[in-house]
């Protein structure tokens, strides 16, 4: 049972240092969402506001619960959600994203089954301690999907595999130079 994995969390310093690392560009968006969350929290009566950057695009064929699952995996994989960090309650996220609460519940269940998050009885849902070893695998999985889409498109356009590799190498050089 997930309940046996309860563990006290270190809070305070690690949380605030993570917040400091947030880039300035993200901050504006976060402040907006934060304000929205504060409003929600005034309504739902929760004490600590939680911020999760998830964007839903309906009508693209991917079920909404899967969009939430994929994006939480991505947030964990990219380190924007840290192990033992709390994710929003189902109702709060449903109101934030304007999606059906059952959809969020289904996403959380999938995430729990995949070991990405852990439910603590009566105390919310947290990113698992085991979340980080999964991270690289999850990151590769996301990248594999993108790669498959690229290869499929290249095939449709009659572009040889070697040309795709060449293109990727060129792009990588351009992006590396742009960073410098």
């Amino acid at each position: 049972m997930a309940g046996f994995r309860h563990r006290p969390t270190a809070n305070g310093s690690s949380v605030s240092s993570a917040a400091e690392k947030t880039e300035a560009a993200d901050k504006c968006i976060i402040v907006l969402i934060h304000l929205n969350n504060v409003r929600e929290h005034l309504i739902t009566g929760l004490s600590n506001p939680l911020i999760v950057q998830i964007h839903i695009s309906p009508n693209d064929g991917v079920p909404i619960y899967l969009q939430i699952v994929n994006q939480v995996k991505y947030l964990v994989g990219s380190g924007r959600l840290s192990p033992s960090e709390e994710i929003p309650p189902i109702r709060a996220l449903a109101q934030q994203l304007l999606v059906n609460p059952n959809t969020v519940a289904r996403a959380y269940l999938e995430l729990e089954r995949a070991g990405i998050v852990t439910k603590r009885h009566g105390a919310g849902t947290y990113v698992s301690e085991a979340g980080s070893p999964l991270a690289r695998r999850e990151r590769l999985k996301i990248l594999t999907q993108r790669g498959d889409a690229l290869l499929a498109e290249a095939r449709h356009m009659n572009i040889e595999f070697s040309e795709v590799i060449k293109l990727l190498r060129e792009r990588d050089e351009i992006l590396t130079q742009a960073k410098k």
Partner: protein, 305 residues
């Protein structure tokens, strides 16, 4: 138990075999629909498909010519007060008394509803930015919708019934409406039925949907189940096909030459098998959007499938 859904205690709306004619036009054609408590139920269909007629039967504004309608187990025609005080209704027409001011509208509406929550009404009025002294006739289209939504919500109805709530509104007001729908089910597990053409809205907030075409319900069930039972297959033939291939299970087929895309209903293995029998290869497979499913269903119906 499931076959006995018409007497399920948890059903908020039970419509059994309702048929309605307006002159020679068949507006509702043997419609059967059960809406359980605590769900958001989306009703979709083209203009004139019968959505508003169905909603008017639920409100008791129209009497079933045949079949039966029960709301909270009550006949809304025989006991309109018993049913209506538990329903919050926003019509597409937003037929508000134009001569009133916003504050007068609230006081006037409050008189009908024993469970009116004045503090909540005031909170919503502030949230929607409605001036209490403004005349209804001077409100913008969006403000009218908000005023209508306010009076539909402020008595905290067990059933929120929204008929094309978003039609013709800007994204900000549409967001307010979606928020109201989510808050309604989140807060107290109440029930929402809303009709819309906007399938992305339906997909966002609904648990279940029913699709109406020409007065009939052609599709009804949980959103996930509907999506999982529909597939989009792209078929490739060795030779040019002069006619759309007759793929078993296809609702619509479009394309030309050697490649054709079909929106299908059924198990993927059977569909792929049927494609192979036609001499085609399946070159792409995916989940269609609700837009695709909707358009395919409407076309299939008009072709008499």
């Amino acid at each position: 138990m499931k076959s006995n859904a018409s007497s399920a205690p948890d059903a908020v709306i039970e419509i059994a075999d309702v048929t309605r004619r307006f002159g020679s036009k068949l507006a509702l054609d043997h419609v059967t629909l059960t809406i359980p408590r605590g769900v958001v139920f989306g009703l979709i269909g083209a203009n004139g498909a019968g959505k508003t007629t169905l909603i008017k039967h639920i409100l008791g504004l129209l009497k079933a010519q045949s079949g039966s309608v029960r709301v909270f187990g009550l006949d809304p025609v025989a006991d309109p007060v018993g049913a209506l005080i538990r329903i919050g209704y926003l019509s597409e027409q937003r037929d508000l008394p134009v001569w009133m001011r916003v504050d007068e509208l609230l006081r006037y509406t409050q008189a009908f509803y024993p469970k009116w929550d004045a503090a909540y009404a005031e909170q919503l009025r502030g949230h929607f930015g409605l001036d209490p002294a403004a005349k209804i006739k001077n409100l913008s289209r969006g403000e009218c919708a908000k005023a209508g939504l306010l009076i539909a919500l402020a008595h905290r109805p067990e059933l929120l019934l929204l008929d094309e709530p978003s039609s013709g509104l800007d994204p900000v007001v549409r967001r307010d409406i979606l928020e109201a729908i989510i808050r309604t089910v989140v807060d107290e597990g109440r029930t929402v039925l809303f009709s819309s053409h906007l399938l992305d809205e339906i997909e966002r907030v609904s648990d279940c949907l029913a699709m109406m075409v020409d007065g009939r319900i052609v599709l009804n069930g949980p959103l996930d189940a509907i999506k999982e039972s529909h597939h989009r297959l792209t078929l490739c033939f060795d030779t040019v096909q002069s006619q759309p291939p007759a793929l078993a299970g296809a609702l619509s087929v479009s394309g030309a030459g050697r490649e054709w895309t079909a929106i299908c209903n059924g198990a993927l293995i059977e569909l792929t098998g049927a494609a192979v029998k036609l001499g085609a290869r399946v070159v792409d497979e995916g989940t269609p959007s609700f837009d695709d499913i909707f358009v395919a269903r409407v076309r299939a119906k008009s072709l008499g499938q």
